[in-house]
């Protein structure tokens, strides 16, 4: 049976403008083995944060039962979360969903991990695990602006890392697709997470390659019961086929669902 648990915050800090890194621990962490899965957080018990917030697993220390999440302070939920301090608890449900398939890339092959903004975090745990399996990892990380860049150092320690900003204030200027082109990056598998326009662009260009994308959708339950997070299936003529981002995803192979 799936469990929920109160995880205890061990550290929380701002690592870039409005980007928080929170680490917490508890026995639930033992189950967090799959990169790309997400945790469903109940920020506090007040009635006005009714819905849980989906946040990706960014890193896990299984031995110390400790998990790290990175999140952007957006609205009410993430803002209240950011006020929590060491010793406070978070009600965590998960890990939920289907993550990135590690087995899609063999030892010795090259994986290109492409992240945009707050889609970057799950790629870190993915990269660590791919590398452990002997996969060669390359990262392309896109951000809005210099002040939003995070985890460049952490990714660099695992493999080549290219940072690109939309306004050119850090790294190269433009989009992740520009970098992949310019640097002529080659790969066997591409894994990506980020804003839908980015995923759509990658899907168009690399639709015939081994590409896995992680989607975002507003969620109700997060467990597959409410049908809030559905998307259409590519090539479905009846129009009634669907996938749920929360349980069938968030990671899908390119070409499976309509973006």
């Amino acid at each position: 049976m799936i469990k929920k648990d109160l995880l205890k915050i061990t550290t929380q800090k701002e690592i870039a403008t409005n980007i928080m890194e929170v680490t917490c621990s508890g026995s639930l962490v033992k189950q967090m083995t799959e990169p790309g899965q997400f945790l469903h957080l109940r920020v506090d018990t007040s009635d006005d944060l009714l819905l849980r917030r989906p946040i990706s697993i960014c890193d896990v220390d299984l031995e110390n039962e400790s998990v790290t999440m990175l999140y952007r302070v957006e609205g009410k939920g993430t803002s209240r979360l950011s006020y929590k301090r060491e010793g406070d608890t978070i009600d965590v449900l998960g890990p939920l969903g289907n993550g990135f398939p590690l087995e899609a890339t063999d030892k010795g092959e090259t994986a290109l991990l492409v992240g945009g903004g707050i889609g970057v975090p799950p790629l870190y745990y993915l990269s660590k695990q791919l590398k452990e399996r002997g996969v060669n990892v390359i990262h392309v990380l896109g951000f809005q602006s210099k002040e939003n860049v995070f985890y460049e150092q952490e990714f660099s320690e695992l493999g080549d890392t290219y940072v690109v900003t939309a306004d050119g204030t850090y790294g190269s200027i433009g989009y992740v697709t520009d970098v992949i082109n310019e640097k002529n990056l080659s790969f066997d598998t591409m894994y990506s997470c980020g804003p839908t326009p980015m995923l759509a662009a990658l899907s168009t260009i690399y639709g015939d390659r081994r590409l896995f994308i992680s989607l975002e959708e507003r969620m109700g339950c997060g467990v597959g019961a409410c049908f809030a997070c559905v998307c259409h299936v590519v090539g479905d003529e009846s129009g009634t086929s669907y996938r749920k981002v929360c349980t069938d995803g968030p990671v899908f192979p390119v070409g499976e669902v309509v973006l």
């Binding site: 049976m1 799936i2 929920k4 109940r42 009635d47 006005d48 944060l49 009714l50 819905l51 849980r52 009410k76 449900l93 959708e217 507003r218 969620m219 109700g220 339950c221 997060g222 467990v223 597959g224 019961a225 409410c226 049908f227 809030a228 997070c229 559905v230 998307c231 259409h232 009846s238 129009g239 009634t240 669907y242 349980t247």
Partner: protein, 309 residues
């Protein structure tokens, strides 16, 4: 004797708790969290005659102490429910309440006739908040005689008791309740969601792609309690109460208002374990309130003889 047991037409429930329609799918997902066999009943997702995909996303938005949804009745259709969902649920010894929706009376008749013959369907819940295409999209549930006619037709074909699920978006809920009682309803189920909206300030567009959506959660609880208090005194059929139930205390409040059983909707999203937690906590709360049996609570806020037994 089981002090949580309640008896309603068609529904012999080991406790008054059921998940609300649309908030529990067809049970499979929550079966991963706990044994569904502990529930008093299960109200499954609205079923329509044909499969439906529903509305474009976003389909949900959070509000203060509530949420809006505009799922658009996505469901696998009558055949899908009969072939895949109900047989799977059969492994649990729990009565199923089958929620039926449609856009014209014929849809409701067709769906009810077949669903009510399924072995584990012990009651039909008639979702009359749906827009009636024949009447320019006005919901069946807002005009008494339309609601009554629908009830009568559905009663005619149903093999099991019929609960009519009332919409709160009306001026006089008692009028509708009386009309459907007279038309033969075996019970009522209330309340469905209030119609609401949220607007995204930057995009200047509704957050829900459908524009409007149904408001549920603790925000609407005082409206639900008031309506159940009004209706339970005006009709003789039992009420399944719902609207913002999160705790055992909420259950007691709904039953004191006049509900004979209750349904938990939105709370499942906040906490998948909410139903088992409530069921577990209810006996201690009854002790604290010096109530022997949960049935003694029904209508306790208005019944003459509401002293402790």
């Amino acid at each position: 004797m089981n002090r949580l047991q309640v008896e309603l037409p068609g529904l012999s429930m080991r406790n008054p708790i059921m998940p609300a329609s649309g908030c529990f799918g067809f049970g499979k997902e929550y079966a991963k969290y706990y044994d569904l066999g502990i529930l008093g009943a299960i109200a499954i997702k609205a079923t329509t005659d044909q499969p439906r995909f529903g509305n474009p996303t976003p389909r949900v938005a959070e509000t203060s102490a509530g949420m809006l949804n505009a799922i658009g009745l996505q469901n696998p259709g009558l055949e899908g429910v009969l072939t895949n969902e109900l047989p799977w649920l059969h492994q649990y010894d729990v009565p199923i309440v089958a929620n039926v929706a449609g856009t014209e009376i014929a849809d409701y008749i067709e769906t009810t006739a077949k669903l009510s013959k399924a072995e584990n369907v012990h009651a039909i819940e008639l979702n009359i908040s749906c827009p009636n295409v024949k009447q320019g999209g006005i919901a069946f549930g807002t005009i008494p005689h339309v609601a009554a006619e629908l009830t009568k037709e559905v009663k005619n074909v149903s093999d099991v008791p019929v609960y009519v699920k009332l919409s709160p978006n009306v001026a006089d809920i008692v009028e509708i309740a009386r009309a459907v009682e007279k038309a033969g309803a075996d019970g009522l189920s209330m309340i469905n969601t209030l119609l609401g909206m949220r607007i995204d300030l930057k995009r200047r567009k509704p957050i829900l792609s459908n524009g409007y959506g149904g408001l549920s959660g603790p925000a609407i609880k005082p409206v639900a309690i008031r309506m159940i208090h009004q209706v339970s005194q005006a009709v003789d059929i039992p009420i399944i109460g719902m609207g913002g139930i999160y705790t055992a205390e909420d259950v007691v409040e709904f039953m004191l208002a006049g509900a004979s059983a209750i349904a938990v909707g939105t709370a499942n999203f906040t906490d998948p374990f909410v139903c088992p937690t409530i069921i577990e906590e209810l006996p201690a709360l009854l002790d604290e309130l010096e109530v022997d049996h949960v049935q003694d609570l029904i209508g306790g806020s208005w019944k003459q003889c509401n002293v402790h037994s």
